[in-house]
Structures are given as structure tokens and as C-alpha cells.
């Protein structure tokens, strides 16, 4: 580096540890303790990116999370690269690789820069207005917009890093480790509270820790020295847990907060392996103290966005903390006293300060008098009207303001300047307060919004509350914290604070220039390139609400969430519309406060841990026998078992043929099972099912249909009477948990007088269902002493037997229409009994079949699947299941709804069968059914719900819901597909064995 930009600073930067990094392909050096931004600045690099719309060169502007310009792509690994990282926030590590992102082909020669010259053509709303018409052109525009916009590249591969979540509980959460937060932490700890203190930087202390002026004194010590002692004290305090590099992301209701801790981003890549990258804390705090400080505002004037124009507070921090000069020809442009601290820092470090331009008429505070005494030229009542220098500022032009401050007078003065430090006052960081639902009020004195009303147990202190001068910050923080914690005395009560007091204030939201506004570029939102002109245009075009102005101009919509821009935008709207800013209100601040990676949000819940999945006790057998699985609710169910490279279709045809011709076996363990006991169990069943249960005998099974109170089918299943007051209900696989909840709800809230107890036993039993003409022979081989005759063990009955000391509950029930036995055993014996069946069935070619074959077999019989043939809008009458509605019962859930005017409409959609004219044509599930496809708009009559090719019937079959379907049997209809129209005939829903003869084998 040719220029001498480093000054000696041993406090925070370790000059003995030199680190190398690569910026846009060039190898550079910095020190341990630098941020990427301070390292770049020490190499005299300001230009780091291009603006979003006009592609204007932009430089590092701040030293914190409000940075709008220095947003870089970190890393060049396809999996690990990180877009949109603020150079001001990332700590420098050895080997860091970074690139500018919003420029193409390079930051110095950027093709999009042409937009800057076209900018009169690109006002607010330009994209909306231009590219939305004609709509069909959008795809063409989009390509070019995306190419030239490009806010970073997302990683192409899965994130290999580890992320973690942790819950934390505390009495007092303190957000912000600056002087206010530290004092509050100490007061709370002295009162024996458990304190959690979060600081987003590496070190505690905020801006006071590097404060080096001689005017601010605490207890007669230099304020930074006093603060260092307090920090040592706090670090040794057992009541205080400190989390640094931890930023609060969200503040939700009930004092639930999310914070993200960076654990490895500051380490060189080699030191990161096997370490957790980031941790998300889920915090429950009894009380929250927000001490997030304030952000300096820029000033809005013509060409205020050139590289080299920076916040005054940032220029100060780069000198005092990082030991880096941002320029060798500095000028300060301010409207308040705080920038004079920057002047003192520049002076102390021996850095040239050419002038201070102050829009105020004068100031007579202690700090300003001190600067005056140093002989630094101050231009009072002046403003910057223009700046020069394309890739780096090199000159500014200033002029005197008129009396009203709305125009400039006199002659132009030109000043040399390679770094313009600007200050437009300070904005309290009220983001977290408003996120939590707090309401703000406007303070006319400082032109700021400050926290007002909140429903939560929280307090804002320090600059976050609107105190900016050291004595106010300390004394009010102490006073407010004591009151908030209901503490009488603290160790800080006698604190003595000396500081300069600001007396003169002046604020102009949009500074005048010698040129008309239309010829100037006074930027508000650097990231989105919106200017004061855009705000005025939006107002002229009729946008009034600040939320609308924001969206139309995109002001405050960048990744910095308007941290810098919002106040000026509001101020200009207020001035232009003659409104009080307090009446205008602010836009809404939403979480996260700073961007979060997806990895942090999901934590460990990735890959196989993304969601819970449930396996049956027989699962391993299915895996060993080449099953393909499908997800049913959370269950993994065997779908089909392809043999020797069979397709799914071929496997299903083979499996279903075997089940019909000899025997098949299904793992039915996933069906929901609810054990029902109590003296009122029978009455309970009568109330929740549509059919009658009073006469069911012990040892018998019955199919039941459950409705919602609105009369729509909710679930179905077979219930077995095990004993006088004891039933076992089965539910659909996917509906089990909901049915359980619904039944519990009715028992607890509507019918608490019923003596009924429900226990979910789904996981306690495994079920092997053996079906087919040879099922009886197979069961007989296993249970030799069991009488399987139709007289002793008829369809819809149950027997309990022992096999090798295992209790087996066998139900003779059927979902396939075949003779069928379901053997239920304790889950741990599931695989044993399954293998017994497989062994016994070998001579009968027992064939394991999956859910797909099960669906086909039941469809041949016209049995519905709730959730496939129904969708919450089908009554039992719509399903042509009138037979299951008891006429005798006075009441059951959903009964009254079955004769509402809507449910008795005859033109409701009803369940029908469909046969294709071409028996080999299989309909697509979900396909629409129409009568006339030429009359537009085409009237859609219904849709296909289930469709299969039946190997037994040697034709395609389908179930469908169809308007007035019951009346349409035999009608010819059409199913139009993308490439053809399929002719179908409405049929009965039962396709096979209408006489139900197969049920007895």
C-alpha cells in the first residue's frame, strides 16, 4: 500500500497477526481484529459494489449492520459460499475470499452502469410500469433484469455446516453490550437476578469503549477507562451469562426471543471443521431490557453516494478502534455536535481534516469550542451542493443556505476531499421494540421515534430510547433500570458524569442544491437506489400511506431494512405533504432484524431429521424383500414389492392377482387403533358413528362411518367388541391422531358425564392381514386348534387365541372382498407372526402386497378410502352409503346436518363408477369429467378419485365424484386429457363380486 492509512492501535487490533485475504482476485493484508471493511479501507479500497438500479459505484459507508453498500459474496465453494455478507460485520480471517456481487463483468467496469446515464428514464415504479406490459414479454425482460440485478449467488450444493438450537431461560435478558446494557446487567445481577447479556460484536463496550476524547469523564476517569473496569467486573459475575457475536433476530410476544450466535465465521476455514457454525437461541425472558443503541443518519444532498462518503461515526470508529484512516483529505459535513468527536479523533491521530461544514448557524458547546480552538475551518450555515469523483470522491462544492434552509445563496466554494464524513443526527434502534408490538411516539426535539407503549415486560434504555449524551445515557439508564426492576439503591447512584452538551439543533431532511431537484440525485436508500425525487414522484402520483410510498419506491426494502433510509423518507413525505411526522407513523419493522441463514433456522432438522417417520414392527422384512415405500401420514408403508426389475404396474397386477386367486398378505399395522373402555362405551359409539351399535355382541366386529358435525364423512373403520364394556376401534392410517383428538374433545367438553376411557394403542399392536381363497388353509396351519368354520368364526367376528404363548387377536374382516383374517399381536411379536404366515403360506404362493394393490383390490369392490374418494365435502348419502345411517337413533354427530337444505340437494357430487370405452385405457386420478367439451366455458361435472387396471376383470375401473351421479348410470361422458379425450360410461361402484360370495372363500 502506497498511502499510510494505518495508525498505531494496539488495543483492539493485533498487528503481530497479519492475515491475508483475497478481494476480487487480489491478495491483500489486514490484521487480527479487523473487519473485512476495515481491512479493505486500510488498503485504500472504498469501491466495493454497484448500486442495484443505476449501477453507480458504491463504497463502504458504515461500520455496522446498517451497511447498505459493502455487501459481498464470501467464499468461492459451491456449497459454502455465502451471499449478501456485510463487510462491516464479518471479522477478517486468514484466507478469506470475497467478491463484489452487484456488478457484471467487474466492479470497475460495469455494463449496468449505463443505467446511471439512463436514470431519467428509470424513476420510481419504472419496473412496474414498463415491464408489466405486455404481460407476455415478462419472460424476456426477466432474463435481463435478473442478469443485471443479481444480489449475490446462493450456494449450489447442500449446506454442509452444522447448526444448533438451544433453549434459554433468564430473569433479565439484556440486548446490547454497550454502556447502558452493561450498567443494567450489573444492577440486575447485584439484585441477584439471572442475567443473559447479548452483544452482536466480538467485544463488549459499544462505542464508548474506544472513546478517546478528554471531555467525557465518568467518576473523574476517561469514560473508556471507567467502562473497561466495569466490563472486567461483569465478566467475573456469576449471575451474568454473556453471549458475544450474538445478535437478536426476533422479539416475539410473551418475551420469546430468537438470537443467533456466530461460532465459526471468524475462524479460518481450516479451523472450522467439526464445529457448529451458528447457534439459534430460543429465549424466554421474564424481563427484557433493550440497549441496542442508535444508528447515525446520513444527510441527503446531491450525489451523496460516492465511494468515500461515509458516516462520521464510522470514520471515527475506523480510526479509534481499527487504527485505519478512511482518507487523507477529510471533510466533515454535519448538522449536530456528535461529528465533532470525529474531528477530534482525526486531529488526535494526525489525520488531515480540511474543513467542517455545519448546516447550523453556530454552536457553542464545549466540544465545538475545543475544535474551534484547534484552528479547524468550520463553514457555518453551509451545505454540500455537489460532489465529484466517479469511483472515489475527490471534490465537494459547498454553498451557503438561505434563511429558510430551502435554497442556497452566494458563491460556490470547492474543497478537496477523499473522505466526506457525514452526520445527520441519530436514530434510536427501535426495531426490536416495534417487532414486539410496542408503539412509538415522535420526539420533535431530535426528530426521532422513541419507544412509548408496550404490553410486554420490557424496557428500552440508552440511545435506543433516545438519550444520546453521556450523562443522560448513564443517569437515565440507572434510574430506569432501578424502577423497572423495583430496586431502591444501586452501586451507581453516586455516579459523576461530565460531557459536552449540545445546545443548537437544526435538521433539513432534503438539503437544497443550486440545481433544480429534477437534475439532482439525493439518495435515500442506497441499496435500492431510491432518491428524494422518487418519494416526491410517488406522492404526486397519489400514494399517501407511508407503506404505499415505501413499496412503490422500494425505499427501505433492501437487506438493511431501511436502517439508514427510513427517517429521511418519512421526513420528506411529511415536509412535502405538510404533515407532522408523528402523525405519519412509521413503516412496520419485521423480523429478522439482520438476515439469518436457512441453516440457522432449521438447525438439526435436516435430512433424515427433517420430519418424524414411523416404521411398523415388520418394516425390516419389507426392506429385506425389496419393498418400495410410500409415505402415509408419518408412516412409511410398503407400497409394492417389485420382483426381478418389475415395473410398479406389473408388480401390482401380480400381487392383486395372487390375492384373488390364492392368497396375499398385507402389513396393516399402521391402521389407527383406539382402546375404548367404560360402562358408557356402547352409548359413546352410538353417538359418534352413524350406524347403531346397541345390539353388537361380544366377539363381533362392525364397520362404522364417522361424520363431522357438518355431516361430512370424517373417518371410517372396523370396531370390535372385546368385552361387555370394552371395544377396539380402528381408524384410517392418516386419520388416527385426529380421530383420537376429536373423540377426547367430545368426551371432555360435551359429554363429561359418560364413563368412557380412550387409549391410543396404534403402536402397541402389529397386524398381519392374510386374504384370498386359501387364507383359511394358511390360518389353519398356524392355529391348528382354532375352529375356522363359518358357523364358529363367521365374517365380522373375532377370536382371541394363544400361539407360542403370544396373545393373538384375530378378526375376520375384509377390505379386499376376499376371505380374510387380520392377526393382531403385541408389536414386538409382529415380525414373528408375519414370518409364520409367510412360512405357512408358502405352498399357497402367499404374496406380500403393498398399499397400491390394497387400493386396487378395494376399488374393485367399491370400498371407499376416506381422504381419497372423499375430501371433506361428501356425505354418506353422496357416497351412496345410505344403508349405514341409522334411522332409529335420535342423534349422532352430524345427523342434523344430513337434512340441511344444502346436503339434501339432488345435484350434489355423488360417488359413481366409471368404465372406459376402451378397457385398456386407464384414467388419471384427478382428471375432470365433462359432458360437452365444445361448449365454452366447459362445464365440469366432477373428477376421477381412484383409477386402476383390474387384472381379475381385465379392464380399467375407476371411482369418481359426479354431479347428480346417482341419476347418470349408463350415461356416456368425456374425460378430456391434454392429448386426447377419453370416452367413459357411468357405472355402479361395485365392479367385482356384487353378490359378496368371495368373502366366504
Amino acid at each position: 500500500m502506497s498511502k499510510n492509512l494505518r495508525i498505531n492501535n494496539k488495543q483492539f487490533v493485533d498487528e503481530t497477526r497479519k492475515l491475508s485475504f483475497i478481494f476480487n482476485g487480489k491478495k491483500l493484508y489486514g490484521y487480527k481484529g479487523d473487519t473485512l471493511a476495515s481491512a479493505l479501507l486500510s488498503n485504500d479500497i472504498h469501491l466495493v459494489g454497484r448500486s442495484f438500479k443505476y449501477h453507480r459505484p458504491r463504497g463502504i459507508m458504515t461500520s455496522g449492520s446498517e451497511e447498505p453498500n459493502a455487501i459481498l459474496q464470501i467464499g468461492n465453494d459451491d456449497a459454502l459460499t455465502d451471499p449478501n455478507v456485510r463487510a462491516t460485520e464479518i471479522e477478517l480471517y486468514d484466507g478469506l475470499i470475497c467478491n463484489s456481487q452487484n456488478c457484471w463483468p467487474s466492479v470497475k467496469f460495469d455494463i449496468g452502469g449505463i443505467n446511471n446515464f439512463l436514470s431519467p428514464l428509470l424513476p420510481a415504479g419504472f419496473y412496474y410500469k414498463t415491464f408489466m406490459w405486455p404481460a407476455s414479454f415478462w419472460e424476456k425482460y426477466e432474463y435481463f433484469i435478473r442478469k443485471s440485478a443479481g444480489l449475490g449467488k446462493s450456494p449450489k450444493k447442500q449446506d454442509p455446516d452444522m447448526y444448533d438450537h438451544r433453549y434459554m431461560h433468564c430473569d433479565i435478558l439484556i440486548v446490547g453490550g454497550g454502556v447502558s446494557g452493561l450498567i443494567a446487567a450489573k444492577i440486575a445481577s447485584d439484585d441477584n437476578k439471572k442475567v443473559l447479556l447479548l452483544e452482536d460484536k466480538e467485544l463488549l463496550g459499544g462505542s464508548l469503549i474506544y472513546d478517546d476524547n478528554d471531555i467525557s469523564k465518568i467518576d473523574n476517569q476517561k469514560s473508556s477507562e471507567w467502562l473497561k473496569k466495569l466490563i472486567e467486573n461483569i465478566k467475573n459475575d456469576k449471575n451474568i451469562i454473556i453471549k458475544t457475536r450474538t445478535s437478536l433476530a426476533a422479539y416475539h410476544n410473551y418475551n420469546f426471543l430468537l438470537a443467533r450466535q456466530n461460532l465459526t465465521d471468524h475462524l479460518s476455514v481450516n479451523d472450522r471443521s467439526n464445529k457448529i457454525r451458528q447457534r439459534l437461541y430460543k429465549i424466554r425472558a421474564k424481563k427484557v431490557i433493550i440497549a441496542t443503541g442508535a444508528i447515525e443518519r446520513p444527510q441527503v444532498f446531491h450525489n451523496n453516494d460516492r465511494p468515500g462518503i461515509m458516516l462520521a461515526s464510522a470514520v471515527k470508529k475506523y480510526i479509534d478502534y481499527y487504527g485505519v484512516r478512511c482518507g487523507l483529505e477529510n471533510v466533515i459535513f454535519t448538522n449536530n455536535d456528535s461529528a465533532y468527536e470525529t474531528a477530534l479523533s482525526l486531529y488526535k491521530s494526525g489525520t488531515k481534516l480540511n474543513a467542517i461544514i455545519d448546516i447550523r448557524d453556530n454552536s457553542s458547546s464545549e466540544i465545538v469550542n475545543k475544535v474551534k480552538s484547534l484552528g479547524i475551518q468550520i463553514y457555518w450555515n453551509h451545505t454540500v451542493v455537489n460532489t465529484k469523483g466517479y469511483k472515489r470522491i475527490n471534490k465537494i462544492t459547498i454553498m451557503k443556505l438561505n434563511d429558510k434552509g430551502n435554497d442556497v445563496v452566494g458563491k460556490k466554494i470547492e474543497l478537496n476531499c477523499d473522505c466526506l464524513a457525514i452526520s445527520g443526527g441519530w436514530t434510536p434502534m427501535v426495531h426490536l421494540f416495534t417487532q414486539s408490538g410496542g408503539k412509538l411516539k415522535f420526539d420533535n426535539k431530535d426528530n426521532i421515534f422513541v419507544p412509548d407503549k408496550t404490553n410486554l415486560n420490557q424496557l428500552s434504555i440508552g440511545s435506543a430510547k433516545g438519550d444520546f449524551e453521556l450523562d443522560d445515557v448513564l443517569k437515565n439508564s440507572i434510574k430506569d433500570t432501578k424502577k423497572f426492576l423495583q430496586i431502591e439503591n444501586s452501586n451507581f447512584d453516586k455516579i459523576d458524569v461530565k460531557c459536552s452538551k449540545e445546545k443548537e439543533k437544526k435538521n433539513i431532511w432534503l438539503l437544497p442544491s443550486d440545481k433544480p431537484l429534477s437534475k439532482t440525485k439525493p439518495f435515500l436508500d442506497y441499496q435500492n437506489d431510491s432518491t428524494a425525487k422518487d418519494i416526491k414522484l410517488a406522492l404526486r402520483e397519489g400514494f399517501k400511506s407511508i407503506e404505499h410510498v415505501k413499496r412503490y419506491t422500494t425505499t427501505g426494502m433492501g437487506t438493511d431494512q431501511g436502517k439508514l433510509a427510513n427517517m429521511h423518507a418519512l421526513g420528506i413525505v411529511a415536509d412535502t405533504t405538510n404533515t407532522n411526522m408523528g402523525d405519519l407513523g412509521t413503516t412496520t419493522f419485521r423480523p429478522p432484524y439482520t438476515p439469518l441463514t436457512f441453516g440457522t433456522i432449521v438447525g438439526r432438522n435436516v435430512g433424515q431429521f427433517f420430519d418424524i417417520f414411523r416404521k411398523t414392527p415388520i418394516h425390516d422384512w419389507h426392506v429385506d424383500n425389496n419393498a418400495k415405500f410410500e409415505n402415509v401420514g408419518q408412516w412409511k408403508r410398503a407400497w409394492y414389492y417389485p420382483k426381478d426389475g418389475e415395473s410398479m404396474h406389473d408388480a401390482v397386477q401380480r400381487e392383486s392377482k395372487a390375492a384373488r386367486e390364492s392368497s396375499g398378505i398385507l402389513d396393516a399395522s399402521t391402521l389407527g387403533k383406539i382402546d375404548i373402555q367404560g360402562t358408557d362405551a356402547n352409548e359413546f359409539l352410538n353417538r359418534i358413528y352413524t350406524n347403531a351399535w346397541s345390539k353388537l355382541q361380544i366377539g363381533k366386529c362392525r364397520y362404522g362411518l364417522m361424520l363431522n358435525e357438518d355431516g361430512m364423512v370424517y373417518d371410517d373403520g372396523v370396531t370390535t367388541k372385546l368385552g361387555e364394556n370394552h371395544y377396539l376401534m380402528t381408524t384410517t392410517t392418516g386419520g388416527a391422531a385426529n380421530v383420537m383428538s376429536k373423540l377426547e374433545d367430545y368426551l371432555q367438553t360435551e359429554w363429561p358425564e359418560l364413563d368412557v376411557f380412550l387409549t391410543s394403542v396404534t403402536d402397541h399392536y402389529a397386524t398381519a392381514s392374510v386374504c384370498g381363497p386359501n387364507a383359511k388353509k394358511i390360518i389353519n396351519k398356524i392355529f391348528k386348534n382354532l375352529d375356522l368354520s363359518d358357523e364358529s368364526f363367521p365374517h365380522m367376528s373375532f377370536k382371541e387365541v394363544k400361539l407360542d404363548n403370544i396373545n393373538c387377536r384375530i378378526m375376520r374382516i375384509s377390505f379386499t372382498g376376499e376371505l380374510s383374517y387380520e392377526i393382531n399381536v403385541e408389536a414386538s411379536y409382529g415380525k414373528y407372526i408375519w414370518e409364520k404366515c409367510i412360512g405357512a403360506g408358502k405352498e399357497f404362493n402367499i404374496t406380500p402386497y403393498g398399499t397400491e394393490t390394497m387400493h386396487l383390490l378395494r376399488a374393485e369392490k367399491g370400498f371407499i378410502i376416506v381422504g381419497q374418494d372423499t375430501d371433506g365435502t361428501m356425505t354418506p348419502v353422496d357416497l351412496q352409503m345410505d344403508w349405514i345411517i341409522s334411522k332409529k337413533k335420535y342423534d349422532f354427530i352430524g345427523k342434523r346436518s344430513l337434512y340441511r337444505s344444502d346436503t339434501i340437494r339432488e345435484d350434489r357430487k355423488q360417488l359413481v363408477g366409471l368404465l372406459t370405452d376402451d378397457p385398456n385405457e386407464i384414467l388419471e386420478e384427478g382428471a375432470q369429467i365433462v359432458k360437452d367439451e365444445n361448449k365454452k366455458p366447459v362445464n365440469m361435472l366432477g373428477h376421477v378419485t381412484s383409477s386402476y387396471f383390474s387384472p381379475t376383470l381385465k379392464k380399467s375401473i375407476a371411482l369418481a365424484v359426479l354431479k347428480e351421479g346417482k341419476k347418470l348410470k349408463g350415461q356416456k361422458l368425456l374425460v378430456p386429457m391434454i392429448d386426447k379425450t377419453i370416452k367413459v360410461t357411468v357405472s355402479d361402484t361395485v365392479f367385482l363380486d356384487k353378490e359378496n360370495e368371495r368373502i366366504n372363500g
Binding site: 410476544n253 410473551y254 424466554r284 358435525e709 374433545d745 363429561p752 345427523k895
Partner: protein, 91 residues
């Protein structure tokens, strides 16, 4: 994310609970004697007010008990929690 004080278990995170909508809507004892409008009133009509609303909540991932909550919908503050069968508090 609320903190809900289950009357049976104590304070727990909202993620353990499910909301069951408006409270104190008893299922009619004789549904068949209601006309369509009266039945629809029970079946469909629910309040959605700004202010104190009485709701049913269930500790689904806990004791599985239902209970009542008086919640201010304007700020989600839970004013009162009381058991099933108890009368709504005067707030």
C-alpha cells in the same frame, strides 16, 4: 409464541397446545328440533372480535386436557385461564 398456563401442568410453550376456537358454544341437546337457521348458528357462526375472546385450548402435547382461555385478540394477552364447565369470567 404464547406461554400458556395449563391448569393441570403449569406454564408451557404454545407449541404444546392447539386452539379449538370459540368457547361456550354448547352442542344442542336436541339437534333434530332445530330448524336450518338455528342449526347453522351453532354449526358455523363464530365471533372474531377485537378484544377479549373466550377460546378453547387443548394441551395436545401434554396432559391432553381441554380448558378455556380468555384472550385479548388485540395483543394476545391471556387474561384468564379456567377449566371446562366453568363460567366465563367477567372482564
Amino acid at each position: 409464541m404464547f406461554l400458556i398456563n395449563c391448569p393441570y401442568c403449569g406454564e408451557r410453550d404454545q407449541s404444546e397446545f392447539v386452539s379449538g376456537g370459540e368457547a361456550h358454544i354448547a352442542r344442542p341437546k336436541q339437534p333434530t328440533e332445530l330448524n336450518d337457521d338455528q342449526w347453522a348458528e351453532y354449526l358455523f357462526m363464530r365471533k372474531n372480535i377485537k378484544g377479549i375472546q373466550f377460546e378453547r385450548w387443548n394441551h395436545a402435547h401434554g396432559c391432553r386436557k381441554w380448558f378455556n382461555v380468555a384472550r385479548d385478540t388485540s395483543n394476545d394477552k391471556i387474561e384468564k385461564i379456567y377449566k371446562m364447565g366453568e363460567q366465563p369470567p367477567k372482564l
